[in-house]
């Protein structure tokens, strides 16, 4: 089965939908900042383009999100969190080869914002893991030319 291309509009929509379906999401989001931006840094060798997305939580769910045309839009949006990493690290996280909390603490995944709050919610990681498992993902470096 062919999956949805990683970090494409369709992929983000599918992941957000799956995350929003989780009954534990309101508990996980409670007390966190309202918005977040995620940056996938380009890796031309892996044919992975740069992607920047922004999302806002309200009422215990991801209420809105959008792909950013320009990564610099984040400067204007000033989200509570900015999480940034190169493509291969995101792929490692998606495939459960890398723990995102440890990677953030080691500085491999760069987090701007209240890292303390995120570490305290590390045990809610299963929400994202389950959502990611629900979306068949196609990685650009695994697509045959």
């Amino acid at each position: 089965m062919r999956g949805v291309r990683f970090a494409s509009r369709e992929w983000i929509a599918a992941v957000v939908e799956a995350v929003n379906r989780h009954p534990d999401l309101p508990r996980a989001l409670a007390g966190l900042g309202t918005d977040l931006a995620v940056v996938v840094e380009a890796e031309p060798v892996a044919r992975a383009p740069a992607v920047a997305a922004w999302g806002r939580q309200a009422g215990g769910r991801i209420a809105e999100w959008r792909l950013l045309e320009d990564e610099d839009d984040i400067l204007e949006l000033e989200p509570d969190y900015v999480v940034r990493a190169p493509y291969h690290l995101w792929k490692d996280v998606m495939q459960a080869r890398l723990d995102p909390v440890q990677a953030a603490l080691a500085g491999r995944i760069r987090v701007k914002g209240d890292l303390e709050g995120l570490v305290r919610r590390a045990n809610f990681r299963y929400i994202v893991d389950e959502a990611l498992r629900a979306v068949a993902t196609e990685y650009p470096d695994e697509v045959k030319r």
Partner: protein, 126 residues
């Protein structure tokens, strides 16, 4: 050259081993509820400390008439806003041109000279 490569290899191996041990240790700590709390508190304290340091740094820099990090951040934010506004304006101009049908068609591929301009669209060769 070979020695250098060998040296790098050993250094890489050491870093890799170190990372493995550190990751294992971090995993053990974070997997435990109390460990997670302790790490979170330590991270919070470190972030608060950094913020305080930045505040002092900003005061010192301002006192001697130099811009601080927050000043640079403000400029970057204004630049980002300008960039976004220009992009929005360009979209509006393009949409207006499209509506009027006055938008020039995309430039033809490089190669043919101006004499070929009247030739119209060219299909695939062959």
């Amino acid at each position: 050259m070979t020695d250098e490569k060998k040296g790098k290899g050993i250094a890489d191996l050491l870093v890799e081993q170190g990372m493995r041990f550190a990751t294992q240790a971090a995993k053990t700590v974070i997997d435990d509820r109390r460990g997670q709390e302790a790490v979170a508190t330590a991270v919070g304290l470190a972030q608060k400390g950094m913020k305080r340091l930045e505040g002092v740094q900003e005061q010192v820099l301002h006192a001697i008439g130099l811009p601080s990090k927050s000043d640079y951040d403000d400029v970057a934010k204004q630049m980002a806003r300008l960039k976004r506004k220009m992009r929005d304006l360009k979209k509006q101009v393009d949409a207006a041109a499209d509506a009027k049908g006055a938008r020039p068609s995309p430039a033809p591929p490089a190669g043919p000279s101006a004499e070929d301009d009247d030739a119209g669209e060219q299909g695939d060769a062959g």
